[in-house]
């Protein structure tokens, strides 16, 4: 096994508890002081399909899934069939001892770890229910993890289901653990030996991070219709609403979602929606309504492969142009794109401030791989964040103008019910808000709205970050979840750097123009067919990027793919 990074694949049928078991083991590693990254593959089914979770551990930070597999934990025969090819010399597979592996082709030097998974699970109380826990026990032994930490997590997970359930799970974990200790002692690797004084950390995915960011930022109203990959945001928001005092509402569709959020925001509540591409198609008329009525709104957009239903549970970044151009006509839209869960947390918090300051929709774009891949982070720090609700007029004004022409484009807001007469109008309107079709008024209102982007660019847009050496032979430019794979890949080079774009609109034109203008060779990395960021860069800067690494098969771009592309370009 590679001693720097350990990659485990845990596979089984949908319904076998792959994700919950995998996440529990990731926490074992995290509490032992290691960094983890988890990547999940599953079909759009509740039962019967194949689920796989890759759990990667390292002492160093790890930011992406990798192609190699050190240990395969197969809860069913199909898992062996699908992933056996990935096991090289020194790797191993845990499987039920009753599976006949004679017909399977193990490469030379691959260890077989047959364990009576089903038998032990049955002895613990249920041969199906406890199967994953037996496997976790065996896995813990094979990587020399601390069984007590696993049991501590079992207790936390099942404690509210009663002592009996906890004890049955303990029994299952201990059976697997003891069996592996006794039978495979010569193959045990001291990989997860607990480190002393491990720091307090969290394992979160983008959905967790976005929900936390919204809660931290004082969100008051969320209307979210379920849709992969953002559904978990609504679970977290729904289950915490009473504790934190905001309202989560499940609407009848995404059209209702965005209009409810606009209504709540008009009435003064910090409001958000979250959806994926199909849902956003329904939201597009509301998107422009927020722009026209100058109503603050945060839209969380989790991309998945389209068009139509597409590949519902896989990843892609095919919606960049759509988000930038959706809705008829023109209005100021702020579009931010997170590169990982931590960025998603920070951009979500910032999005609420930007929406209030600029009184316009702010989209935070993530992709399925950010939404659902878990990663170890230090506890998020919100000490530097301050709520900014933007410009508000005093209550009970008699000469209030909702859409007053202002140099910075931002008129003072007010809310219904404080005595001030206020109009929100989707028709073009005059400064008061009355419908108005005069050409001069139209021109002034349009210019006022669009000036907000200039103000935002000048006051709030940071310069993009470049990772790696200042002077490089190759500069990679990308966005979204590719960030993790790229950072992982460029560790192998001392002459490659990475320009990460996370403000899409307004766009950091001057900085990107300079950074890419000076670059020796540029590679654009994206999970879409046409290289939409590269197209945007060309539109904004005139720079054409000819070297592209594009993937649109629903799978992530792996660090290995990027290393190969860098080497290819370096040779040219």
């Amino acid at each position: 096994m590679n001693q720097d990074i350990l990659s485990i694949k845990l596979g089984g049928a949908a319904g076998q508890g792959i994700k919950s078991a995998g996440l529990m083991f990731a926490k074992v590693a995290s509490r032992s002081g290691y960094n983890t990254f988890d990547y999940t593959e599953y079909p759009s089914l509740i039962r019967g399909g194949h689920n796989m979770m890759q759990i990667i551990f390292s002492k160093a930070e790890i930011t992406a899934p990798i192609k190699k597999t050190d240990l395969l934990i197969a809860l069913n025969p199909e898992t062996l069939n699908k992933y056996l090819d990935e096991l090289e010399e020194g790797a191993g597979a845990v499987f039920d001892e009753t599976i006949n592996v004679d017909s399977l082709k193990f490469k030379n030097g691959v260890n077989k770890f047959p364990v009576p998974l089903s038998k032990f699970a049955g002895e613990s109380g249920n041969k199906d229910l406890f199967l994953n826990t037996v496997a976790l026990g065996a896995l813990a032994a094979l990587v020399n993890a601390n069984l007590d930490i696993l049991k501590e997590l079992i207790n936390e997970e099942f404690g509210d289901k009663g002592e009996e359930v906890v004890n049955k799970n303990y029994h299952a974990a201990e059976s697997g653990y003891n069996h592996a200790k006794e039978n495979f002692s010569d193959k045990i690797k001291n990989f997860l030996t607990p480190l002393e004084n491990p720091p307090l950390r969290i394992i979160v995915n983008g959905n967790d991070a976005i929900a936390m960011g919204a809660i931290a930022a004082g969100m008051q109203f969320a209307a979210i219709y379920p849709m992969t990959p953002i559904t978990n945001i609504l679970y977290i928001l729904a289950s915490n609403q009473e504790k934190y005092g905001y309202i989560y509402k499940q609407p009848e569709d995404e059209i209702a979602a965005i209009n409810m959020a606009i209504g709540a925001s008009f009435a003064g509540a910090r409001s958000m929606v979250a959806t994926s591409g199909g849902g956003f198609c329904l939201m597009t008329e509301g998107y422009g309504l927020a722009g026209m009525t100058e109503t603050p709104l945060v839209i969380i957009y989790g991309m998945r492969p389209g068009p139509a239903t597409g590949l519902p549970t896989w990843t892609e970044q095919g919606d960049l142009h759509f988000i930038l151009h959706a809705h008829q006509g023109e209005f100021p839209r702020i579009v931010l794109a997170a590169g990982d869960a931590k960025e998603a947390f920070e951009l979500t918090m910032q999005a609420f401030n930007l929406a209030d300051k600029y009184q316009t929709p702010v989209v935070v774009v993530v992709d399925k791989d950010i939404c659902e891949n878990d990663q170890t982070f230090s506890n998020f720090d919100i000490s530097g964040f301050n709520i900014d609700r933007g410009k508000f007029a005093k209550d009970n004004q008699s000469d209030y103008l909702r859409y007053k022409i202002e140099e910075d484009g931002i008129s003072k807001r007010t809310i219904p019910g404080n005595g001030t007469y206020l109009i929100g109008n989707s028709d073009e309107h005059n400064e008061t808000g009355y419908s108005n079709e005069e050409p001069e008024n139209r021109k002034q209102q349009m210019q006022k709205r669009m000036r907000k982007l200039l103000t935002c660019k000048a006051n709030d847009m940071p310069t993009p970050k470049i990772y790696g050496p200042e002077n490089a032979d190759v500069t990679i430019v990308s966005w979204g979840s590719n960030k993790g794979s790229i950072l992982q890949a460029i560790k192998n080079f001392n002459n490659v750097n990475y320009l990460h774009i996370n403000w899409i609109n307004p766009f950091p034109v001057e900085f990107v123009k300079q950074a890419l203008g000076n670059a020796k060779k540029i590679i654009d990395v994206e999970c879409n067919y046409s290289g939409q960021l590269a197209e945007l860069i060309r539109q904004k800067t005139g720079i054409e990027i000819s070297e592209k690494l594009l993937s649109f098969d629903g799978r992530p771009i792996y660090p290995e793919d990027i290393i190969e592309k860098i080497n290819e370009v370096l040779k040219k």
């Binding site: 009435a267 919100i382 809310i415 009355y434």
Partner: protein, 298 residues
């Protein structure tokens, strides 16, 4: 508050004789009587001739998208349930484009007052068939006669769970004013289907037609009886061909006006614990500590 205080600089743009004038007048009279003002009320409108109303009443308002007035109003009410929220909508807006929202707003019993301007046509777009245009009617979009059957918005509202379902007539301001006040006082979802003429495009449903064929529900009518309410809602379901008489040839008036159905049931907002003490919008937005949440993720 005086009636003049509701006047805006904008002159109504409706056709002379339009039923919207009656609804406008009745609403303003009710507002003056009950003190609906900018400290306690907000109007939400969809798109259609009715939607222009927001320009002619000096009360805080939001004119949204075609068909989407209800979800906007729902959001406003959830954010500030102390406000009277009046939803102005049309038969095309509410029952066509926004039909789904109508069903679900009724089902949830939000404390909203829906003022349904019902002229049985799309009139702002110059006279196409709407979901309540009778079968066989010739319109610009149904030159051979409308093949679609109309449905009863009142029966749909009752079936969907609305707790106050009434029918009004734009030509009877005093009665309409009373209905608007009762609808707003009702805790839960109120719908008033207001029959109004479209003097430009609807030659069938004229002021005279409604006057001749409508009657007020008698004092002893029991609006809590759901079965009876359905019967009343379907008594005049606009199912007849344009040639048929509204009275079915029996010489009796067949369009009941008044409160067809009213029951007490907790409104959606009254069940939301987070707003039991005060409205969301009255809370200052504050940064929230996450230490408790972090524990679940460590």
């Amino acid at each position: 508050m005086k009636l003049e205080e509701l006047t805006t600089p904008c002159k109504p743009t409706w056709c002379p004789g339009c039923g919207n004038f009656g609804i406008w007048g009745a609403f303003k009279n009710a507002a003056v009587e009950k003190g609906w003002d900018n400290t306690n009320s907000v109007l939400v409108a969809g798109i259609g001739c009715h939607g222009h109303m927001i320009n002619f009443v000096k009360l805080t308002s939001f004119e949204g998208l075609h068909g989407r007035a209800l979800p906007v109003a729902t959001g406003i009410k959830l954010a500030n349930h102390r406000l009277n929220v009046f939803v102005f909508t049309g038969d095309g807006d509410c029952l066509g484009e926004g039909g789904n929202h109508f069903i679900h707003a009724c089902r949830r019993n939000h404390d909203l007052t829906i003022i349904l301007h019902d002229n049985a046509l799309y009139s702002l777009t110059t006279g196409q068939a709407s979901p309540v245009t009778p079968h066989g009617t010739k319109t610009k979009s149904s030159p051979q006669g409308n093949l679609d059957e109309p449905f009863s918005p009142l029966a749909l509202a009752i079936a969907s769970g609305a707790t106050f379902v009434a029918r009004g007539f734009s030509g009877d301001l005093p009665k309409l004013k009373e209905l608007l006040i009762k609808a707003n006082e009702h805790k839960g979802l109120s719908v008033i289907d207001i029959l109004q003429p479209c003097v430009t495009f609807n030659k069938q449903y004229t002021n005279e037609f409604y006057r001749e064929n409508s009657y007020q529900l008698p004092n002893d009518y029991d609006p809590t009886n759901k079965e009876k309410a359905f019967t009343k809602a379907l008594e005049w379901a606009r199912l007849q061909s344009p040639e048929a008489k509204a009275d079915g040839g029996q010489g009796e008036k067949q369009i009941p006006l008044g409160i067809l159905y009213q029951v007490e049931k907790p409104s959606y907002e009254s069940q939301v614990k987070q707003i039991a003490q005060k409205p969301l919008a009255e809370n200052t937005v504050e940064k929230r500590d996450l230490q408790d949440l972090f524990k679940k993720y460590s």
